[in-house]
Amino acid sequence: MGSIDTPSTENGSTATLGGAGDGHLLPASDSAGYAPENDVGRKRKASVLPLEVGTRVMCRWRDGKFHPVKVIERRKMHGTGPNEYEYYVHYTEFNRRLDEWVKLEQLDLDSVETVVDEKVEDKATSLKMTRHQKRKIDETHVEGHEELDAASLREHEEFTKVKNIATIELGRYEIETWYFSPFPPEYNDCLKLYFCEFCLTFMKRKEQLQRHMRKCDLKHPPGDEIYRSGTLSMFEIDGKKNKVYGQNLCYLAKLFLDHKTLYYDVDLFLFYVLCECDDRGCHMVGYFSKIQEQKAKVEKEKHSEESYNLACILTLPPYQRKGYGKFLIAFSYELSKKESKVGTPERPLSDLGLVSYRGYWTRVLLDILKKHKGNISIKELSDMTAIKAEDILTTLQGLELIQYRKGQHVICADPKVLDRHLKAAGRGGLEVDVSKLIWTPYKEQS
């Protein structure tokens, strides 16, 4: 991200994106009228206003510190001076999900000039890096984009560059959104959406939600409960039978998933919605979706033979880092086991998704290796875990547990090494109690 270089002039009077058509600077006199301070420095700063799209500058983030940002978009503020803008900035250190609208006072205008120096520094460090280090960084940078070529990635970022909805209210939580989501055009004019926690209908005003809550007859997702353990329940929803719910869920999920596509209709998908239940109802914690194998085969969905067992996975932000993500992953593999199949998630994985999956794979495989006596093939591991052989190989090779010696491959399972990897892989997440999963694969259903 942030790979487009910004040509900036040394004196800081202009900082425009090369070739940006709308990027013209206002005459200094105009700006002076707006910023009448005597301070020379102030004046100079004012002369760069309004900032052009593409400008790199330092911005105060929620941690109180300044971070480098790039201006993605700007907009006039209501009821203020002609040149008062808000800026939509991308923090170059972080994922796009943290992009946000900021006021001018959050920006350190002195840093507009220093941007060039920083860049030089950047380059210097990058040159000093070994090729290996560099690749490592590149990998972390493009995680989640492996399967997109540069052109489609640019296109994707262009049309999703600014979040349309800033926050949503969903049940108990008001959540800042992460990404753009293609809501119907009627919702173009609003920044906040109110979701019904149960049927996921979204509205523009709180009163509308409250009125809806008085009539909404749902207290849980509109599908079959297939798992219940303690307060946790899992519901299976057929996208064909509950089209509106499926679409609402996709609109919602897109707010938190960058590379999710809403291009096709939901009728081929099954949605598995995880809920925490109390006396107010079943509150959605997260979900994953899965293409229906049988239907996919009939419809000749491409890749259907590639044994994907998961299309999209999301834990809602208020419930993140509590082990739900790994629960969802584990659940998807339990379903695959019931189908006697191996499965793999659809790519690309997001940064967070990759972390969760790597953690899950590591934990599952290493637990087996720790206990297993005698030889074992990758295929056997795959059959035991329903994890696709390729994913097992990547995981073990990534941990350097597969060694080649005396002309053959061996698996290194030194308990000390394994424990260290397990510790690094993070907590195991919530366990799926298979005895509480009541589910028959789609093909066996009537």
Binding site: K136, E176, W178, R211, L268, I378, E380, H409
Partner: protein
């Protein structure tokens, strides 16, 4: 990273791999290459492994995400009314199928409109309004369904078909004033026409599969796969062919309606014709009977022209109809019953043919009488050829000199063809006393 000095054999996933439980085993090995040695050493060395793992772990714990807060009105808005049954919950039908739930929620402009509408006193609650709009949307959709203009994808604006009359009727159960219904309908129609698509999202057609606008979502899936043979392709079971077949069905239905209307029209036309015919017959019968009374000498005659008794089946049918209708007329049924004729035409006709066939002696007696539909003009040459002569002052001499037969034809004063039969002894016309007397041999004379 771990660069080996040679390329390892690719790993066979089916091959059993030994599990080495201790790193020491590696060290005990006499490993010839330093590369491998260092690799194992590094693996064993904690510090190195830490270097490998730390980045991932760091990413895991440090990926910052946007924030969230707790909504203070939550506990008030969501009631504590849920209790989990002991069994797993099962899905009910989707809301759309159940049809009780008002799926529509008012939006901002609706709210503003209602507020304006209720300016002085509360005439309309948002709940009623939601129900009304929901009903209008559903009805409009149904109207479009009936009209067969439901499009599978959103190509052009979706027209409004629901009229106010139908709408008002549907809104009746809501017990809102007529005037208010009118206002709601007008508001809905205006909004609906502005949106150019149904307001209820469920009813909006999806974008076409070839649409590339990234803002449009939930396309129907296009076929990624071609069927093997042409024959299979032709009858592909997809949306397009479904639409085509629906179009065919619509066309056929329309053709059917058209043809039914056509049949009705033709039936009416025939009834009219038959009514005219029986009317004429009644008039004729009336005239004949009086004439027969007056002119008892005239024998029941021959048809007015030779072709009348031609071999063509059509003509027989015609004459049958005539006979049959007259029969009806005689039985005081003023008009012929066409239905009856149609039900069992064959047997009835044959019966009548046997009895009444030669009675086609209907002729134009009066210039004011309407033209008979089944007569043809007389051809003098043909008449002459069979020995029928124009009326003369002394028919007796003609008969005696020209023919020795006991009867011959002549054209009467009214233009009728009259075959007189004379009693050679009495020199008087033979009166059989039966108006339906069948002349013994009508045909030979016809076919000369």
């Amino acid at each position: 990273m771990s660069r080996l000095s040679f390329r390892p054999r690719p790993l066979d996933i089916h091959k059993k791999l030994p599990i080495v439980k201790s790193v020491k085993e590696f060290e005990d090995d006499e490993t010839p290459t330093s590369t491998r040695n260092s690799q194992i050493m590094r693996l064993a060395a904690e510090a190195d492994t830490e270097v490998q793992q730390v980045p991932t772990k760091k990413v895991a714990s440090e990926i910052p995400t946007p924030e969230f807060v707790v909504v203070d009105t939550y506990e008030r808005d969501y009631s504590r009314t849920f209790s989990q049954p002991t069994s797993y919950l099962r899905a009910r039908g989707a809301r759309a199928e159940l049809g009780e739930f008002v799926e529509y929620d008012v939006d901002n402009e609706d709210e503003d409109w209602i507020q304006e509408f209720n300016e002085e006193k509360v005439l309309l609650t948002p709940e009623i309004f939601e129900t009304a709009l929901f009903k209008l949307e559903i009805l409009d959709h149904k109207a479009r369904e009936r009209a067969g203009i439901i499009t599978p994808t959103l190509g052009s604006p979706v027209p409004v078909l629901l009229q106010f009359d139908a709408a008002a009727e549907a809104l009746l159960p809501l017990s809102i004033e007529y005037g208010i219904s009118q206002c709601i309908y007008d508001y809905w129609k205006e909004k609906r026409e502005r949106w150019q698509k149904p307001i209820l999202r469920r009813l909006q057609p999806p974008p076409p599969s070839n649409d590339t606008n990234p803002y449009n979502v939930f396309r129907p899936r296009e076929k990624a796969h071609r069927l093997h043979t042409r024959r299979m392709q032709r009858r592909e079971n997809n949306v397009q062919s479904f639409e085509k077949l629906r179009q065919v069905r619509r066309n056929l239905d329309q053709a059917k309606t058209l043809l039914e209307a056509l049949i009705k029209r033709e039936e009416k036309k025939r009834e009219v014709t038959e009514s005219e015919v029986s009317l004429q017959r009644i008039q004729m019968k009336y005239k004949h009977e009086t004439e027969l009374l007056e002119d008892s000498l005239a024998l029941s005659g021959f048809p007015s022209f030779p072709g009348k008794f031609g071999s063509s089946e059509e003509e027989f049918v015609d004459s049958d109809d005539v006979a049959y209708s007259r029969q009806n007329a005689r039985q005081n049924t003023p008009f012929s019953d066409t239905k009856l004729v149609m039900v069992s035409p064959g047997s009835i006709k044959r019966e009548f043919r046997r009895r009444n066939a030669p009675n086609g002696w209907l002729q134009k007696l009066d210039p004011l009488e309407p033209v008979l539909l089944f007569t043809k003009p007389l051809v003098p040459e043909k008449l002459a050829a069979v020995g029928i002569v124009p009326p003369s002052s002394s028919p007796m001499t003609n008969i005696a000199s020209v023919r020795s037969q006991s009867f011959h034809g002549r054209i009467g004063r009214g233009g009728r063809i009259v075959f007189d039969r004379w009693n050679p002894l009495l020199h008087t016309p033979i009166d059989c006393g039966d108006t339906f007397y069948i002349p013994p041999k009508p045909r030979p004379s016809m076919h000369n």
